[in-house]
Symmetry: C2
Subunit: 457 residues, 2 copies
């Protein structure tokens, strides 16, 4: 019976004194004269299995020679472990080498820096930290699908190649079927596959709105791109976004959903990634578990942008950037306001001029029904808005901003054909993962990150 | 109490004689002198709700003026329906117009051709056919995640922007941060964001293999791209692929997983998309339900490529393309062989020269451990292989094909660092959807399809 370590560790009593087979990799190997210990992992569980073997096995000498990193199949008896911190271990009867590992294997059983491991992106999940990070990434992705599907949302795959350049959320990569080295002067788009300039999408929202106008509740979950030359801990040029869009939903209901979704994900992670979260709490961010539990039990504050500015202005703090009515807020302000309320804060009704064209214009003529969710220790985790559903207002805003309306005629028409109050929001998947794991650099929560000058593997 | 139609129809007895509120759109509207019928949908269920109103409602005259396509909120009593084919209907007490619909709304309650509707991709889910197609798309996507997650697979997001041009599965789109109209002569890649030529991926497999060498069982599910200028019913330039990769798994076990996955998805769809599948069976592909049930209960045949050629050669058929040992098979051959066995057929051990470099070379020196799954009425639905895990054999194959080994040094190194027998396969998500729905054109199962000369919305 071949078993995953996950099965064994989740029900270890069931397997005690049973003979089972496991398949995986040697993470560490300590040999003595007449016995040895193999630290074994198959990637299905955070905990490794300790495999003990001794010279009563005929192939003892061969086993003792096995290299760290090798792939093996081991059959043996699961026994209660005398060692603390592991419920069971395995007494090996047979060890078969499935694939040897060269001695220049870069992942040796010692502490490697995260910078070093970034250069070995294809091997780094074989460390405890990254093994945990990417198992959590997988489970959290599933939690997001499960949340929406259980509530009857329709999953919508927004197109990634787009001819629209006015999504307005950042610089775009160009996509072409032409040979770049054969472009001389003006591009002849009649020879490009789509016969027009195309780019990689920065957001699936506008398309998702069209689906919401039929299915009522939809969500995207897919990759998005920014061509920005930003070398920060929180920027990548390719990342995954979750973008729900809900008809018959105003800004308040939108915030209800944002809060409910985040609490669901955190609870799901605490319950389904217990060992990984304990690992992060111990080795990555002390207090992580308390932080997550606190979030689940907190009531998110809802406050207008101008009231936030008032609090910031009244604060006895020497700001690097002076807070101003009508302007965006800086990282230091986000930090202050979440500490001020000691919890997550929805900042809503933002100055119209610093927000996107599609946001619902409030009656004051100055603000839009936009909201940012600020989380202690992280800053902005989600951003959403009620969408402008008045055709004339949307059109005149696009005119004000000098946008190409022809390209978005269909988007405008959604307001003409049974448009209704609707809202949505976006959540950067990697930013969420950084919050859940305590890992501080976005490069460390993406399997193969794409950042300026970095497109290896 | 605001309810989704899904809730009401899935448990209609519970709501009889209850007052509820629904929100959605008018699909059709028939008015008489003292009463009227609204055909109402909120996109959560295939069945529409018939809403009856009469002149005892104060706003009767306003309601009677409501246009097809408008968004409305309706409160009323759920009652047993006298009409056949619908368990319940609603007797309206109040109808609120949430968003009017212009009379030039293209989706009128009559039969539109699929070609016509393709031009209105942003509105077409408001028809019965497309409403069903994209609800099924969402549920089948979830079924795929659920299948793998329940079995302990790790979901892996393969990068979409890649610097590798040797994935070998087709023409690639180029990606650049440069202004195409300012490229004069030779491209200066030092000014491109990644400082080298980059493209959109055609497959996540090679990267997925690295994850399998740590997590044992992984899967991708994401978009892939082909820059091919193919205008057929089955080609799109942007489509979604599922690519599982499994360590300690040979070709036979790979086929076990392929068969199990497909049967799971079909069963899931029959159980969870009952109304949609009935609709397709009635209006799109007669016999669809029988076809799907037959698949679930069939034993998939496994046969070598050269035996298939033998059967084809012995067949009393005048071929357009003569079947030959050592060569690929044509559509007509695929069709014959699934009819010959009256069921799904795994064709395995293909001639090495017509298959990809990474496939396991068999001992005969002529074939590789590759497999295509042929399905009656569809042709190839999945393709997989055992991967070459012998460093020297893989390297010499890459040399034979004149490939750039430096770019794939990491991929070769996976064979050096605890590589083991492993296999995987790919399944085109849209091809699967065409099989499940009976819809014959890939443009009709992708929300916003990208095909040559077509990148609208």
């Amino acid at each position: 019976m071949i078993l995953d370590l996950k099965k064994i560790f989740e029900n270890s009593n069931k397997y005690i004194d049973k003979k089972v087979t496991v398949q995986g990799w040697i993470r560490n190997h300590r040999k003595q004269k007449s016995f040895g210990f193999i630290d074994f992992s198959d990637g299905t569980h955070q905990t490794h299995l300790q495999i003990v073997y001794d010279d009563t096995i005929p192939s003892f000498k061969d086993i003792a020679k096995l290299h760290i990193g090798s792939a093996i199949t081991v059959t043996g008896n699961i026994i209660k472990s005398p060692k603390e911190g592991q419920p069971v271990e395995m007494q090996a009867c047979e060890v078969i080498l499935e694939g040897d590992c060269s001695e220049d294997f870069p992942i040796q059983p010692k502490r490697h820096t995260r910078e070093f491991l970034r250069d070995f992106a294809y091997l780094r999940p074989r460390t405890n930290l990254f093994s945990a990070v990417f198992r959590v990434r997988s489970k959290v992705a599933y939690a997001i699908h499960k949340y929406f599907q259980d509530k009857g949302y329709v999953y919508f795959n927004s197109p990634l190649i787009t001819a629209s350049d006015c999504e307005g959320a950042g610089e775009m990569f160009r996509v072409t079927s032409l040979d770049l080295d054969n472009i001389n002067g003006k591009v002849d788009y009649s020879k490009d596959l789509f016969s027009k300039p195309t780019s990689l999408t920065v957001s699936g929202q506008l398309n998702a709105e069209s689906w919401a106008m039929c299915y009522k509740k939809v969500y995207t979950f897919g990759p998005t791109f920014r061509a920005e030359n930003s070398n920060t801990k929180t920027h990548a040029n390719e990342f995954w976004m979750v973008e729900p869009e809900i008809a018959f939903c105003d800004l308040n209901q939108d915030m209800d959903i944002m809060e409910d979704l985040l609490k669901y994900i955190v609870k799901y992670t605490l319950e389904n990634c217990k060992e990984e979260i304990e690992f992060f709490d111990k080795f990555v961010e002390n207090g992580l578990i308390d932080k997550l539990n606190k979030l689940v039990n907190s009531k998110f504050i809802r406050i207008d942008h101008d009231e936030v500015i008032k609090i910031l202005k009244e604060a006895d703090v020497k700001w690097e950037f002076e807070p101003e009515y009508g302007e965006d807020i800086a990282k230091e302000h986000e930090k202050y306001i979440t500490e001020y309320f000691d919890g997550p804060v929805f900042i809503k009704n933002w100055p119209k001029d610093i927000k996107a064209f599609y946001m619902k214009q409030n009656e004051d003529g100055k603000t839009v029904a936009a909201v940012d969710l600020e989380i202690p220790g992280v800053g902005e985790l989600m951003g959403g808005s009620q969408r402008e559903n008045d055709y004339e207002k949307l059109e005149s805003r696009m005119d004000e901003l000098g946008m190409n309306k022809e390209e978005l005629d269909w988007y405008l028409d959604l307001r003409k054909y049974g448009g209704c109050v609707h809202s949505g929001f976006g959540m950067g998947f990697e930013r969420l993962l950084m919050y859940l794991t305590g890992v501080e650099n976005i490069r460390d929560v993406i399997p193969y990150p794409r950042t300026p000058n970095n497109c290896k593997y």
